[in-house]
């Protein structure tokens, strides 16, 4: 093993194991559970709660920003 070279992984996976590649049309929307603020309350939202409904999911960068 004296000649063994140190090898580095070609693709480094982000911590939770998902490759961070954008989900594309016709793929299943990954399910999730999240804490949410809704009309004054702290609630839990599961995407699966909205099965049989159209859903629009908007990712935005940050609260209190301008655009």
């Amino acid at each position: 093993m004296s000649n063994a070279k140190e090898t580095k992984p070609v693709l480094e996976m982000p911590p939770c194991g998902y490759p961070n590649i954008v989900v594309k049309p016709e793929e299943l929307a990954p399910d999730f559970t999240a804490e949410a603020y809704y009309r004054g309350n702290r609630v839990t939202v599961n995407l699966s709660d909205y099965k049989n409904h159209w859903v629009t999911l908007f990712f935005y960068a940050s609260d209190f920003t301008f655009v």
């Binding site: 998902y18 594309k24 793929e27 990954p30 999730f32 999240a34 949410a36 629009t56 990712f59 609260d63």
Partner: protein
């Protein structure tokens, strides 16, 4: 997100559930919704992805920054992603276009017809039979 809030009644008329999500905490969301004049009109849930797991699952996390691209996903009643867009960080969304895409998807689901470029509700769809190939 105020641009979506301003059109929220149209999303409701189309039977579309609106969810907004960022990597901020629910505490931040609360204060944002309470004090920001534009956020005060938000009627839909503000989801918190503080662990970044959801943003990473959807592939929209900017790892080096800890927040996401301005991304939009339209998800069908069967749970399938039908539309994705990633906007440049500098430019806000065109909510008109997002509503038009939902209307097009619902039109296709109801009629089986193709939805041509620039289609708007009230316009004709396209027959997708093989016999029509080359005739349009």
């Amino acid at each position: 997100m105020a641009a979506v809030a301003a059109r929220y009644d149209e999303f409701q008329r189309l039977g579309v559930q609106v969810l907004a999500i960022s990597t901020d905490s629910v505490f931040s969301h609360k204060v944002f919704a309470e004090v920001s004049p534009s956020a005060r009109m938000i009627q839909y849930p503000l989801l918190s992805d503080r662990s970044h797991k959801i943003s990473r699952k959807y592939g929209v996390l900017r790892e080096e920054l800890g927040f996401t691209y301005r991304a939009t996903f339209i998800i069908s009643p069967e749970g399938k992603v039908k539309y994705v867009s990633l906007y440049p960080p500098e430019v806000g969304r065109n909510v008109d276009e997002i509503i038009r895409v939902i209307q097009g998807l619902q039109y296709e689901a109801a009629t089986g017809l193709g939805v041509p470029a620039g289609w708007r509700p009230g316009m004709a769809g396209i027959q997708k039979e093989f016999s029509m190939v080359g005739r349009i």
